[in-house]
Structures are given as C-alpha cells and as structure tokens.
C-alpha cells in the first residue's frame, strides 16, 4: 500500500498548480515602477581589436537614458571565476580578465560591447543600431588542438598562450599506468568528441536591477540557481557592494540545467546601471541571445585507452582530453573537466591504475561550463564506449565483460581520489536484464530486418558523484566557495512551519519533496509546511542547486534543523506534561509520555513557545526557530545500468529509439514520482545529445546553430516510452536521509547506450563501424555506413 504522505509517497507536485495554470512568478513577470530597458550590442565577429565605440548619435536618440561601454566598467572588477585548477607541474591556471562589457578586444560572437538603456526596449534597440563600432577583425581560434600550437593567434594577448591549464591526475600514477600498458595483453583505444551543447532552458535568462537611494540598497531579480552565490560573487568581486546592502531574488525559474548557476555580465550590468541611471533596469534575453551568451556545455575531444590482461581484467586506463573553456572562464568552468570528470574515470570498475590528462583551452567561442551532469557525462561516455569496443575486439559479451570488472566491495577507494561509500552494480545490471528482455532481442531484431531495418542493442553502466563536498577538501582542490547547505525551520505559533532552504528549485519539485521530509519527521500533514527559497532577504544563506545536491545536502541541512526543533519542542512538551524530557515521544504530530496515555498536541507545544505563560522560561528561550548548516563528509554515488534498443533505416541513416530502460540506484527515495520525472527529463537530454543536439561553429567563429532552425532539441516523438526503475537501493552511508540524488543520472547514463546500440545495429549488417561521433544524425550514420 503506497503511503499517502511523507517520505516515500508520490505526493503531487504542489508547485505545478501555479506553473500549469499560468500564475507562477517568473523573473520576467516582475516589473518595477519606472523601469528602463537595456539592449546589449553584441559582437558579430569572433575575434577583433576594438578600436572605438562611437555612441554620439545613438545617445541623442529618442528615449535613450544612458549608453554604457567597456570604459564605464574599468573601475569595477571582472567576472570572477570560482575555481582555480593547478596544473600537473604545479603551475596555477591562466586566468584572464573577463570584463562586464568588452574593452580592447572582442573574443566571441555574442560578447556584449555596449549597453543602451532606454525607456523602451525598441528605443534601446534602435539606438544600438546607431552605435558605430570600429573593429579590426583578427584571425579566430576555434579548433582546440590548433589553438595550442606554437604561434596560434592568442585569445588573450596578456596570457602566455591559449592553454588555460594542463592537468594530470593522478600524476603519481602516470609511470605505473604507462608500464601497465606495456604489459597489457590487449589494449583498446578510441578517439571521440563529446559534442558542444546549449542548455536551452524553457525560460531565457532575465535580470532586473533596482536601487534605493534612500537606503543605498541594491536588489537584483535574476534567473539564478543560486542567488546567495550571485550576491557574493557580484557584490564582493565585481561591484563592491557589501552583502547587507545587496539582495538577490530568484523567484520561479523555468529550468536551469547548470547554465543558470553562473554569474553573468547582464546581472552585474543591471545592478550597476540601476544606480547609475537612478531607475530600475531590466533585461530579458531573446532566444538568439541565449544561444550566444548562455554558457555552453561539454565540448571535449578525447583519446581513451583501456589495457586488459589475458583474462580480460581491466589493468589500466589512460585518457587525453582537450576541454574547451571558450573565450573566458565562466564561474565554475575549470572544475568541470578536472574534479568532476577525472575523479569519475574509474566508473563502476576496479581498474587499479588510471591516469587522466586534461588540457583546457581558450578559443573564440562562448564560455563553456557545467551542463546537466558536468564532467560526469564526459567521463561516462568515453569509458563506456571504450569498454564496449573492447568487448567487440575480444569477442566477449559486453555485459559479461562489465560484470567481470565491477567493483563489489564497499567502501571502495578508486585510484582517482574518491571513495565510493556504497553500491551494488550487479543488482542494477540484474534489474536491467529483466527490464530489457534481452532474451527476446534476437526475435525483435529479425522482425526489424523483415521491415528493412537494422536493430541494435546497447548497454552501459554509469556512476556519478553528487553533492560535491566536503568544503575543506574542495577548498584544497581549488574551489573558492564552501559546499555546505543551510536550512532554517521557523515554526509559527499555530503550528505551521516555514522552511527556508538555500537550495533553489527551478523545476525539480523541491517545494513538494522537502515538505515531505519535514512532515515525516514531525508526523504532520505536508500542507502545514511551506518551503521558501530563492531570496537572500528571506533565506539566511545558501549554496544553491546544481550537481544533484539538493536533497543530499539541502535536505540533510533541513533534517538537522528539524531535529533541533524537535529537541526543543520536546523540552516544552515535557514541561507541559510534567514529565522527564527523556520520556517524551513524538509520533503522528503529538508528544506523549512513554508508557502513559498523557499527550499534548504539536499545536499546543508551538503555541506555548510563542505564548509562554506555562513555559520553562528559566531553562529555554521562547520561540521555535532553528538553523542548521550541513557540510557532507563525502560525495554521494548514484549508479546504474541503462540499455537502449534502436532501429536504423539503412537507406537514410535515421535512428529511431525503440526501447530504453534505466535501472538506477539512488539510495533512499523521498518521492518516487518526482524521481521518475527527473530520470525521464535526464534521458531526454542525454538522448538529445546522442542523436540531435549540436552546437557548431564555422572556422571563423560564427555560430552555425544559433536558433531552433539549426539546433535540434529532442521532442516527444523522438523518444520512446521509457522503462524506469529505482528499486535497487543501497542507501548513502553518510547523510541522514540515505539519499544520493537523481537529477543528472539520466543525462549521464544515456548517451553511451544510444551510441553502443547504433554501432551494434550497423555491425549486425556487416558494417565495419567502431564509432560515430554524436550527434548520430541521419547524415552521419549514413556516411558511416558507406
């Protein structure tokens, strides 16, 4: 019998009522009295010397309030980078200045050069067209390997070259790893591209800056996944506004997928301009601007090699990756190809020796940063592709090869610095074999052949790391932020609760799932609990939502704060019941004295806390409000096994996904329906990457896929009915909920399954195809068959 509330119940998403009935409050719904609008004049060349920006004519046009250029921002800081990576020889990464508005040079198509603030957006746009730009175009560097050869044009003249860092991990393992390759019975190698993506949340980015002259207070409304982090980065590093004079509000946000983690120029601009212009300044991104100013994702070029002994045991793994940073370092860009990628290269396997080299490269393209999965999809894709290729080369069953090399004992310390606390990879693979009906595959393949189609089956495993932590460790690794989360639980006199969380919901259903946790702990109805997030004036502190960390870290903070509430409430109850505190039990929203029928209701205790007439004032303070900060002791490690069955039309190369199954281990689960939805969304994005999405530049740095006419998003009819299971549960051992996180798994685990399946289909027709780079668009698949 399914529960109808609390932990484990598929409670309906309470926030969906407002989203689905059009009464949500998104940033663009917010308009301030007297607001002006800003239009950004953006570079249409990828690389050029900015000789002059003449705003004389434009400034005199109707409605123009003020025009800003790079010169106006010389006195403020550049956009900060939140992670410093140290290279393999101890050298600190090259970190260029990232101005709010371009000065001296433009470095990618879409970089803002000037900002026109006017009464209306159309007036701002009219005036922007009258700005005269004098730009001397320079050769653009687009290809990463070409960018790091000697004498390549430099993206940043003041840096030594275009190499941001050259990272080796674990450097101490390198010699032993190289030797293992010399000793190997078999080596499988593969060169591949992890295609550049554009996140494309449904809601484009928006920023509205306000300034109160009377109190010298700034307010920024912005589409952010972590408003407190924006407050810190923008206040402390860019504009020099102390946090107590700066409020950042991120109300309903329509999807983030990572791209709304970062601090963007438009946010700093609107905050700065609101004070300079003495009126609120608003910017709403157009979809075209989003394509050329939202941080992009992925974009790795990798060579991976797997060494095996004569018994097909993995003995060593070696990778060589070029990771595109774009023209500037976005907020967390350096961490993605390193600490979120190299640390996951063990995957689900007990490979004893691993060495990862990553060269991060500056190019004249939009900055690249975390996108759903961030580093972990890149790790999973190359590993699961090379394992599949090895199985083919050795003529062994790809599932058997994986099982043979699975990690089976936990905790397991990988050779890439992380320790998996728990897992059961055979269990998820067993579940997958059941869901995938592999015994029926040959019959399905024959049926496909009868209709002229090639059928293929692809399987893969994945492991990921969520809830990046602990703060003291990530600090050593170069993070310039803590990675805890905070929660404040405020109980009102009449018994209702407000939970203020530093996690931010932009579609994940936190308002529902978080309420379930607190309701379970106290034994009250979920409707008595309100979840508040996304406003630095309401929530004391927060690190935000990314990396599938919200339930594992934010949820744990909430548990800790609620425990404090319960402890204090028990003290009050023991006073009211004239019993010893140690005898008080909380069950179903009532406090009772163990072994008696004496009890007092939750509401009576909360009322006593605020109307303390009969209250132990000499022992405890009135009121019932507690805050907790939770800093995890380790990452969490969700893992699973996925399979994909495709049909390929051999005449056109078109791939159709016929079946897809996902067996995930997320540890304990708060709301199964929400988890299923998260997996569905992740699968859609992973399959989108595998089959459709491709952010492409030409050699001059022009963005070829700058709209939905050329950037293919997955649509419902591109996807099959998913078979999803999360009944294999090995609870996380180090957080109080035993949860692992589920937001990114689908996007991490699905691309290799799709590619493995298509390669299998083509090989079934006798085609000597070992790899096709994503997206597996019809033309690419057809070309591979020729």
């Amino acid at each position: 019998m399914p529960k109808d509330g609390g932990i484990g119940a598929s409670s309906k998403r309470r926030e969906d009522v407002r989203f689905l009935t059009g009464v949500g409050n998104y940033t663009d719904d917010i308009n301030a009295h007297g607001q002006a609008h800003v239009f950004f004049l953006r570079s249409d060349v990828a690389h050029g010397k900015l000789n002059a920006v003449d705003t004389t004519t434009a400034a005199a046009m109707p409605g123009v309030v003020q025009i800003f250029t790079g010169a106006d921002f010389e006195a403020v800081g550049g956009m900060p980078c939140g992670w410093q990576v140290t290279g393999k020889n101890g050298e600190v990464m090259q970190e260029p200045k990232h101005p709010v508005l371009a000065s001296e040079k433009v470095r990618h198509v879409g970089e803002p050069i000037a900002a026109v603030v006017a009464d209306t957006l159309e007036q701002a746009r009219d005036a922007a067209e009258a700005i005269l730009l004098d730009i001397t175009e320079l050769p653009a560097v687009i290809d990463m390997k070409a960018a790091v050869v000697a004498n390549a044009p430099k993206v940043h003249d003041d840096l030594a070259n275009n190499l941001c860092y050259d990272w080796g991990f674990v450097e101490e393992n390198k010699a032993a790893t190289d030797k293992a390759f010399l000793d190997a019975a078999h080596v499988t190698s593969l060169e591949l591209v992890n295609n550049r993506l554009v996140a494309n949340p449904m809601e484009p980015r928006v920023a509205l800056g306000e300034y109160s002259q009377g109190t010298d207070e700034h307010t920024l409304y912005t589409t952010s996944q972590n408003p407190h982090v924006i407050r810190l980065l923008m206040g402390a590093f860019v504009l020099g506004i102390p946090e107590h004079k700066l409020r950042v509000v991120s109300p309903d946000v329509g999807g983030g997928f990572g791209t709304k983690i970062f601090h963007y120029q438009e946010e700093a601009f609107c905050t700065f301009a609101a004070k300079a212009c003495k009126r609120p300044v608003k910017w709403t991104s157009s979809r075209t601007e989003a394509f050329m100013s939202d941080a992009h994702g992925r974009d790795h070029v990798t060579k991976i090699e797997l060494a095996l002994d004569a018994d097909n045991n993995f003995t060593a793994l070696r990778t060589d990756t070029y990771a595109n940073m774009g023209a500037y370092l976005s907020t967390f860009a350096p961490s993605v190809p390193t600490w979120l990628h190299g640390t996951l290269m063990a995957g689900n396997y007990k490979t004893p020796l691993i060495y990862v080299n990553v060269k991060a490269v500056f190019t004249n393209t939009v900055p690249v940063d975390a996108y759903r999965g961030a580093g972990r999809p890149e790790a999973t894709f190359q590993l699961e592709r090379v394992v599949d290729k090895a199985a083919r080369e050795l003529g062994v069953d790809p599932i058997a090869l994986r099982r043979q090399n699975f990690i089976t004992e936990f905790p397991y310390a990988t050779p890439v610095a992380v320790e998996y606390d728990t897992g059961d990879y055979h269990a998820t693979m067993d579940k997958l074999e059941e869901m995938g009906d592999f015994s029926g595959f040959e019959a399905r393949r024959k049926a496909s052949e009868a209709s002229g189609k090639l059928r293929g089956l692809g399987v893969n495993c994945y492991i990921e790391a969520c809830g990046i932590a602990p703060s003291n460790l990530v600090g050593q690794l170069g993070a310039r932020a803590g990675l805890y989360e905070s929660a404040t639980v405020r109980v009102n006199a009449t018994g209702g609760l407000v939970v203020m969380t530093g996690s931010h919901s932009h579609g994940q259903g936190h308002e529902t799932a978080f309420a379930q946790v607190v309701a379970e702990m106290i034994g009250i109805d979920e409707s008595m609990i309100e979840i508040v997030h996304g406003d630095t004036a309401k929530v004391p502190m927060g690190m935000g939502t990314y990396g599938s960390r919200s339930i594992a870290v934010g949820g744990s903070a909430m548990v800790r704060a609620t425990e404090k509430i319960i402890n204090k409430a028990k003290k009050i109850a023991s006073h009211l019941l004239e019993a010893s505190e140690s005898d008080i039990e909380l069950k179903d929203g009532a406090f009772s004295v163990a072994g008696t029928d004496k009890s007092v209701a939750w509401g009576d205790v909360t009322l006593a806390a605020y109307v303390p007439h009969n209250y132990p004032l000499e022992e405890i303070e009135p009121g019932l409000e507690e805050t907790a900060f939770y800093d995890p002791s380790n990452f969490t490690y969700p893992a699973g096994a996925y399979c994909c069955e495709v049909e390929v039309d051999p005449e056109t190369g078109k791939v159709s996904i016929e079946r897809f199954a996902a067996a995930d281990d997320f540890g304990n689960i708060i709301n199964p329906m929400i988890v299923t939805g998260q997996v569905h969304g992740g699968l859609a994005q992973g399959i989108g990457q595998a089959l459709l999405e491709n952010c492409a530049y030409d050699e001059n740095g022009q963005l070829l896929s700058a709209s939905y006419m050329d950037y293919a998003m997955p649509r419902a009819d591109d996807l099959p009915m998913f078979s999803v299971d999360h009944s294999c549960q090995t609870p996380c051992t180090h957080n109080p909920l035993g949860v692992k996180g589920c937001g990114e798994a689908g996007a991490i685990g699905s691309p290799p399954a799709v590619v493995n399946a298509v390669v299998d289909a083509l090989r079934s027709a006798g085609k000597d195809v070992t790899h096709i780079d994503m997206p597996l668009s019809p033309d690419r698949v057809w070309a591979a068959m020729q």
């Binding site: 746009r125 190369g653 459709l692 050329d710 293919a712």
Partner: protein, 262 residues
C-alpha cells in the same frame, strides 16, 4: 521590429493599389515574414494583409476538373478540404505544426519559394497553374531559384490550380531541427506521364528530376528507379547533410513516394 503601416484591404484591386506604395509588402500568413521582421532583417514600410479578401479564400473544383485553391487559404483548410486530391491534402497536413498550418497560406508559401518548403514541390509536380491578379503562370515557369519566382513587384497570387493526377504522393525527410524538408519528393502520375519535383535538396530551389520522370512514365514502379541517381554538384551542403547525402536521399524518397502512390 521596425514600425510599419498596416493595411487590410477587402478586394484584390485595393490590395494591388496598396502594394504600389514604396517598400510595400504583401502579408499572407506571415510565417516567414513576421519572424524576419522581428529579427529586423526585413523592414517593409507598409504591410498589406491579404487575409481580408474573401475571394482569396477557400477551395473549389474548376470546370476542367482541377482543384482551385484561393491564394490566402491556409494549410489547415487545404488539409481538410482538398479531398479530391488526397496527396495534396496530406502534404498540407504535414507542413510545420498546427500553429503554422492555421496561419500560413499557399500563396505565401509559393511566393516565398523557400528551398525547403513543401508546397513548391506539390505545385511543380502537379503541373499547377499559379494565377495572379494579372496573369496565369505555369509552375514550370514560376519557380526561378531559391527565394525567386516569376512574380513581379506587387503581383499577388490569387489562386493556384492543381490538375489532379491519377496517383500521387509526397515523401518528406525531415531536417532534424527545423523539421522543414531536408529532402522532399512529390511524385504525380498523370495519364500522359509522370512528374517528379524535389524540394530541400538543391541550391537552385525546387526542381524536376527529368530522368526519373522519363523512366517512371514507362514503368511506374520503385524498381524502375534502380540505378538512377542525381549529381551532387548543385546540392545544398550544410550542418544537416552533405551534398552527397542529399543526392542520395533524392533517390530514396522518390522510390518511397512511388511505392506509397501505388
């Protein structure tokens, strides 16, 4: 979008007069023109909507048995009402999405002559006659290359007359992002021969594949196409397909259209 004047005449002659103004532009369903204007890539001074002209709306059967479609008739209407020409109705039913089909018009599509649009293939393969406010133009003379037609400045498509073939079919291979035709082939078999028109593939816009027509006119079967192929020299090459891929798809889609028509 820049400012413009908007006019919505209710007769063809008023529309023609309005289009005589400087930088005036006819507006059908606006499915191409309006996004272009929003991006400030087009800046007509006067927009003359053809939607208010009753005689440009709707379908009827001509005395010669052809299907006549008013120039401002939207795709959704053709999809439902062109029952005498099922292949044409099916073509209209798969243009764009419901919003596009309820706004976009046949006259607008033909006048724009997007190299990836569906209707040009249907009109050319059917040997349609494009009727304007001043003359009648055979489809073979109408399409003159990518975004180029025989229409003069200010000339309005008032009607399109489709002879109804014995058999016909349109096969569209979708460009994955836009879902326009990466290659679309319309095959129409008449008593006096077969016509094959291809959209999406060529740098010159919609074109007829003479060799396939000749072969199919003697043997209207997919097997007859065996060994026939188009040169890739004038084919479009872009992010979604090489010239060679498009040339290959022309053969595949033609074969499938013949198979479906039979």
């Amino acid at each position: 979008m820049y400012n413009f004047e908007f006019q919505k005449p209710d007769t063809i002659s008023d529309a023609v007069a309005a289009l005589g103004a400087e930088d005036a532009q006819a507006l059908g369903g606006g499915q191409t023109l309006l996004p272009t204007m929003k991006q400030r890539l087009a800046s007509p001074k006067v927009l003359v909507s053809l939607k208010g002209i009753a005689e440009l709306q709707g379908l009827c059967m001509g005395d010669d048995g052809s299907m006549c479609i008013g120039g401002a008739t939207n795709h959704a209407t053709v999809a439902v009402e062109a029952t005498s020409y099922p292949a044409l109705a099916a073509t209209a039913a798969h243009i764009g999405d419901p919003a596009v089909r309820n706004r976009g018009t046949i006259g607008g599509s033909l006048a724009n002559n997007d190299p990836s649009a569906c209707y040009p293939a249907a009109a050319l393969a059917s040997g349609a006659t494009i009727v304007s406010n001043s003359r009648e133009i055979l489809a073979d003379d109408f399409f003159q290359g990518m975004f180029t037609t025989a229409l003069e400045e200010g000339e309005i498509i008032t009607e399109v007359r489709f002879p109804i073939p014995e058999k016909a079919n349109y096969q569209k291979f979708l460009q994955p992002a836009s879902r326009f035709a990466l290659v679309g082939v319309f095959v129409a078999k008449f008593a006096d021969g077969v016509r094959v028109a291809i959209t999406g593939a060529s740098n010159d816009g919609v074109f007829r594949w003479g060799e396939a027509e000749e072969t199919l006119s003697t043997n209207f079967s997919p097997d007859a196409l065996q060994g026939l192929s188009l040169s890739d020299s004038d084919m479009i090459a872009d992010l979604h397909g090489t010239a060679a891929y498009r040339a290959h798809l022309c053969s595949v889609m033609t074969k499938r259209a013949v198979m479906a028509a039979n």
